[in-house]
Structure formats: structure tokens, C-alpha cells
Amino acid sequence: MLTRDEPARDPAREPVLTIEGLTIVVGGEAGPRPVVSDLSFTLGRGETLCIAGESGSGKSMTALAIMGLLPKPGAGIAAGSIRLGETELTTLGEGGLRRVRGDRIAMIFQEPMTSLNPVLTIGRQLTEAIRAHQPVGLAEARRQAVAALEAVRISEAERRLGQYPHELSGGMRQRVMIAMALALKPDVLIADEPTTALDVTVQAQILQLLRDLQAELGTAIILITHDMGVVAEVADRVVILRHGRQVEEGAVGPIFAVPREGYTRELLAAVPRIGEGAGRVASRMAAATRPLVEVNDLTVGFDLKGGLLGRVQRRVHAVEGISFDLRAGETLSLVGESGCGKSTTAKALAGLVPYAGDIVLDGRNVGGLPRAQTKAVRRDIQMIFQDPFASLDPRMTVGELVAEPMAIHRTATAVERRERVAALFERVGLSPGEAGRYPHEFSGGQRQRICIARALALRPKLIVADESVSALDVSVQARVLELLRELQAEFGIAYLFISHDMAVVENISDRVAVMYLGQIVETGTRDQIFADPRHPYTRRLIEAVPVPDPARRRDAFPRQAGEIPSPVRPIGQPPERLTLGEVQPGHWVAGH
């Protein structure tokens, strides 16, 4: 199982961090249970090591163990050693660890939103971090803070010092985190899923930034990720973990080219790649029939109140006059980055937000109907949410949850419902015997299957899937996508698939619409969009996707000059509507 015959290729690189036989246990009902067992690796100066694995593989626990931040009580190091240079970290007390943390090992976390203190300015947080480890005055710390912000390519660094975290975008916040981590020039930087919460174009910039900084400072980086594309992009060496055990370790090239272990092969095979979908036959499209869903000039806005009198002062133009249609059995993907209005579109279709414009389903306008009929139409549109952990009521059994839509719409008697729940469970690959369990007893993939069963319960004509596979591990993601595809073939359901992940979109869609700032900038068939993207934004989105192949690493990703403009505008100043021009049959692009 353990393959480790790749010594440091460069003898000049002395190891900065050596981990030997590390075993981490977590206390449970049945005594301590190992979450990481017998893990060994070394990290050379200036090297990037990726620890890759799916959720529950113990990769974050390893990072926390190195930092001495394992959750107490409960988790602890049972065996093994962690050496930073000559210092043994496992026997170092809390005081010693505190000196090491930040100064010699720094860490950045997944969620830049929650790892910065929201009530302190960026400047205060940076200078405090610097002064905690260096005996410098306030002015000197401030100078260093500005230098650190400039190092991570933040514009107007002086002014940023006075800003609070909420005034910055996610990408900016992650840069601040990196600046904070690197301000003290640590030997080792541990980055735990640093780009997972970010948009692809921002992710590309952050990865590029990490590479540049490493070249300048010679910091060794441990990058923890589940994304094999990111691994291919930045890693020198890779450690693949599964269930807390090291499956494979080695230089990134060979691992991707000739993976030795079955699990590594599976993991790599499950990664969606752009270009894979192209050969697949498009799902049967009844071209002659009229569209199942027609969306015309859909507009959703939210008023922002402000001032003493609570008057409406500004308006968020979340969705600004978009139109599209969708046939039965077809998959249309809406792609775009956070804040582009794709989720709001989904919510409008599911009847969760008020909208202007028309949504016509099967020839009936969903909007102007009386209450009872709206409910009937609603039955035909079901939604699958992003986070299967959040979208199921934790206090109901999964059987009750799947039966609930039928109870609400009174489509079946109690006995029929029970039978149908059992059938649905079987159809989505769960055992009907599990209907009496609660959501927390299931894994993420199983829960998403429950959500799918729930959406299917009313035999809908359209399923809106809002980032429905984004929260899942790649191997689970691949299986859920397969299930969705099968169900479509079986029942002829139309999918409106909303995602930021271009590779997944390329995999599942028949047609794609790219959204930017609440408007569609380009729409066409999958092949038209991916093989022949016309709009610059579409091109940037596709280029930003990390390619899971270390041989095709991009050397320089064009940096975006500024921030994405905001959809919030003063009252009376609506954004300019884009007009789409047809460049090919079915391929429409803004500004043509």
C-alpha cells in the first residue's frame, strides 16, 4: 500500500519539515479511533507539497497537528514525530508552539470570510500579527504591513489598512490572509483548501500568487486540497491520503502520468475534465416540440434601504432581463462567478423570490396564476440545493422528508406514498430500509441522493439544480452526475443546472448560458461555448479552470486588473442592457 521511493531529488534541498510515523487519534464512543495513521513525508525548502484526498481522509487533521492546533479535548497525536528543522514539535509545550506558529510555520484557512476578525481593520490585524513575533514599533510594523500587502499585489495598500474585512471581496480577503501569513517570512506555509471558496478566475490568481511568492521568498508550502486540478497546477510532490492512510507519494509528474495505486487512478479518473464531454452524444432532444420552459426578460432586484428614514436608496440588480428556453429532456447550464445572479435565477424559477418578466411552463405563465394553480405549477418545478447538509430538516427522518412533497400536494395516499418512497430510495441507490434514519446519519453523497429522491417525488418536468454537486468529493460527484443523467434519460426531465465549475458544466450540459453581472453574455450549445468561446468573459472563465495535468501547467495567468464591478446601483440608474447577436445558429454573444 505504501509506496515511497522518491527521495528528495535535489540534494541541496535540506528538509525543513520531517514527519515520521504520525498517528492522530480522535476519541469516540468506542475509544480512540485513528484518523491519520503512520503518515511520513518530508518537505524541502522552497518545495510545494500537496496533500490530496477526499473528505474524511485526514488531510486537515495533519495540518492542524503540525500547527499544534488539534481540537482539544478529543484529538491527539498518538505516535510519531514532527520535526521542524531540528525542533521536535510533538513534545514542545504550548508556549514553544506559540513561538513557532506564525513565526516559522504559518497557516491560511479555507474560508477567508471567517478567519479574519470582522471588527478589526486589516491594518490592525496585520500589525498585531507582526508585533506578536517581532520587537518592532508601531510605525515599523505598519511599514512592514504595507510591504506585505504590496507583496500580495493588493492595490492601494495604504488605504486598505484602514478597511474592515467585509469591505473586501473573497479573493482580496484571501490575499490579506496570505499577506498576514507571509509577513513574518515563515519557513513553512500550510494552506488548507485556500481556494475552494473562491471563484475560478480568483482561484487562478491566488495560485499564481502563491507560486510567485514562493519563488521570491523560498517558503516551503504544504497545500491541502481535494482538487486534483489544483494539485496539477502547483505541486512539486503529492501525498495522496485515503481514510487517514498514505496511498501514494511522489513527484507530481509520475503520479499523474502513471499512478501506481488503484485509488489514485480512480481519483484521477473521477476528475471532470474540459474536453471529455465533447465526444458524448447529446441527450435526446425533441427539436420539433415547443420549449418546456420559456423565460422572458426575467428581472430580479432587491432594494437596499438606508438613511434615517429607511428609504430605498440603492438597488441590487441581481438578474437583469434574461431570457432563455429549455426543452423536455434537455440540460441547460447557467455558469458564472459568485454574484452573477445565477442562483437568484434558480430561486425565481422555484418561486422563492419575487420577479418581473415571464416564466412560462408548458404554455402556462407561472406568474399571474391564482394561488391554487400556482401550487399545481410549482409541482412541476423542483429544486436541488447546493449543500445537502443544510437543505434537509435535521429533525425529520429521510423517509418523511421524501414523502413530504407528496403529502403537501396530496398526490398520493399514505400507503402509496410509502411505496413510492421505497421505490424512489431504490431508484437513487439507497436502501428503502434506511427511510427511518435521520439526515445526519448519511454521508454528503447519500444526502444529495435523498435530495434528488425528494425532488423526483412529484414527477416534475423541470429540476433546477443549484450547485448541486459542488459540495461533494469528486468520486461522489461523478456518481451523482451519472445518476442525474440516467434519471433524465428515464423520465425526460429538463435540468437547469447552475454551477461555477466549468468542467462539470461541460460534462453534463446540452446548452450553456454564461452570466455576468445579472445578464447573459453568451449562450449556445456546449460545443459552441467550449470549442469556440466568443465573449472575453467566457474565455477567461474557461482558461481559469485548472487542468488536471501537470504537463500542461499554465505559466502565467493574465491577472485581472481590478475587482468585478458591483451589481448594486443607485436608484434610477439601471445597468445598460446587453443585446445578444447570433454568430452561429443557436450561438448568441453579447456585443456582436
Binding site: K347, G351, K375, F385, D393, R395, T397, G436
Partner: protein
């Protein structure tokens, strides 16, 4: 937990029965909950069968209940728990007092819990103008000195046990409403509520089937904490002369009648105090256990 593996699907009634039985069975498996239940049961039985348990009526002033100097008798001897300043049997007064205290603790507390939950849930769920009006009213009630309000209400109505219970309920619901409001508004923003709306669930269904079950733990914690608060508030009101009128005993007024003689006859304050403490503790123990048992995510982590 073996009984949960059978698919229960959607039949509401059988599921409810099924679950109820499970709850009691699981509750009884917790030693602390069992202790709490035993204390509550003992108190209830003592209150109900008080006439059969003691020889004297609680307001009978007994000649043999005082020493020759006219001092109360300490516990032991003819009077198990001693006598009070007027020579009344303390055991009889505590047992009869349990009636008052239980009625106040359960009834007044139940009413305040119901009002508080109703106001909090409605305000938190519907927000907007309606929610604002409800919450501003709650704030107003909160700003008003509770004791003063209780005295005013008690002065308007003739003080009787039921009026006292009502007064206490009208004063106590405010805190419950605040807590429930905050929880409801954060629950309403959770994604599973949005998911419920997306399958077409109406407000009533969301409120009763998806929001209320999540509030059980707060309601139970507040309910059990409220029992000691209300019993003590009743004592305070009695002390001010607007509570349960003497000679009817309640645990609170026994303490306040005798507090000035605390040094000379400590049992007169200590014993009813211990009774209040034991009852409050018992409800807290049962409440804690009930909260865990009702939460399916805690299942199997006994």
C-alpha cells in the same frame, strides 16, 4: 433504537405514537432524568394526598406546637419537620404549600411559555410590520419593571391563587419571546426552510413541522428554568402582600413569613427553600434529558 429501522414513511399518526413511546423509554434509561422524575412524582403525590399524610391542617395553630416560652419546635419528635412561629405543623404547611407552588410553577409557567413562544415564533417568522409591532411591544414589557407590573395587576384584581398565576404568566413571557424570536429568525433563514418552500410547503406546515421542533430544546430549557423563577416570584409577591393570601401556605410565603427568625429557627427557612431547590433541580434534570432525547442528532450518544 432497533425500532427505527422499519420504514415509517409518511403516515403521520402511527409515527407520532411510535416516537412518543420511544421518547419515554429513552428518557427512563437516563439515571439523572429518573431521579428528577422521581422527585417530581413525589412532590405531586405529596401535594395530592396531603390530607392523608399529615394529622394536622396547615393553618391549625397547635398548643403543643410551641415551647413553654412560645418558641417554635425544631424538627424531630412529634412534629417531623418542626413547627412555625404560630405553632403550625411545618410538614403540613410544606405539603399543602406544594399545591400552590406546583400550580404556580406549572400553570403560570406554562401560560407564560405559551405566550412567549407564540409571540416569538410569529414575530420571527413573519418579520415585517407585524413582527416589528410584536417585538416592540415585547421590548416595552421588558422595560417595564416586572414587579411593579405584577403589583399593579394584583391590585386591580382580587389576589387569589389563579390571579397570581395569571399575573406571573403576564410578567414572565417576555424573556421567552425574545429568545424564541432570535432563534426563529435564524432558523427561518436556514436553507432547509427554503427547500421546504421550494417543494410548495405553506407557512403553517413550515411553522409547525419544521420550525417548532427545532425550538423544543429552548422551550424546554426556558420552561424548566422558569419553574424556579415563577415559584420565587410568587414568594416575592406573597411577601409584598399581593401574592397568595395567608393563611394559604405556599413555599414562598413560608420562607418570607419566617425569614426574620432565620437565626433562631433556621429550619423554617431552610426546609421550604430546600423544597423549592429540589423541585427546580428535578425539572431542570428532566428538561435537560428531554432536550437530548428529542434531538435525533444526539441519538446513540448516551
Amino acid at each position: 433504537m432497533t425500532d427505527r429501522t422499519v420504514p415509517e414513511a409518511a403516515t403521520a399518526a402511527p409515527v407520532a405514537v411510535h416516537r412518543e413511546r420511544g421518547v419515554l423509554a429513552r428518557l427512563l434509561r437516563r439515571p439523572l432524568a429518573l431521579l428528577g422524575l422521581a422527585i417530581i412524582l413525589l412532590t405531586v403525590l405529596g401535594a395530592v394526598f396531603a390530607p392523608h399524610l399529615v394529622a394536622h391542617s396547615p393553618d391549625e395553630q397547635l398548643f403543643e406546637g410551641l415551647t413553654i416560652e412560645g418558641a417554635p419546635l425544631p424538627p424531630g419528635g412529634q412534629f417531623l419537620l418542626g413547627t412555625d412561629l404560630l405553632g403550625r405543623d411545618l410538614l403540613a404547611r410544606i405539603l399543602y404549600g406544594a399545591r400552590t407552588s406546583l400550580i404556580i410553577g406549572i400553570l403560570a409557567n406554562g401560560v407564560s411559555l405559551t405566550i412567549g413562544t407564540l409571540v416569538g415564533v410569529l414575530a420571527g417568522f413573519f418579520r415585517g410590520f407585524f413582527g416589528n409591532v410584536l417585538m416592540r411591544f415585547t421590548d416595552l414589557m421588558m422595560a417595564f419593571p416586572a414587579l411593579l407590573l405584577a403589583i399593579c395587576l394584583a391590585a386591580v384584581f382580587q389576589p387569589s391563587l389563579w390571579i397570581v398565576a395569571l399575573v406571573i404568566a403576564l410578567v414572565n413571557w417576555v424573556q421567552v419571546a425574545r429568545v424564541i424570536y432570535t432563534e426563529t429568525s435564524s432558523l427561518t433563514a436556514r436553507e432547509f426552510i427554503e427547500a421546504e418552500r421550494s417543494i410548495g410547503a405553506g407557512s403553517g406546515r413550515i411553522l409547525f413541522r419544521h420550525i417548532l421542533p427545532h425550538l423544543y430544546s429552548s422551550i424546554i430549557v426556558y420552561g424548566t428554568l422558569g419553574i424556579s423563577t415563577t415559584v420565587l416570584l410568587e414568594a416575592t409577591l406573597s411577601y409584598l402582600g399581593v401574592g397568595v393570601q395567608p393563611p394559604t401556605p405556599s413555599w414562598g410565603n413560608i420562607i418570607f413569613e419566617n425569614q426574620t427568625y432565620f437565626q433562631a429557627a433556621p429550619w423554617l427557612v431552610f426546609l421550604p427553600g430546600a423544597a423549592i431547590l429540589a423541585l427546580a433541580l428535578a425539572f431542570n434534570l428532566v428538561g435537560d434529558a428531554l432536550r437530548d432525547v428529542l434531538d435525533p442528532t444526539q441519538r446513540g450518544r448516551l
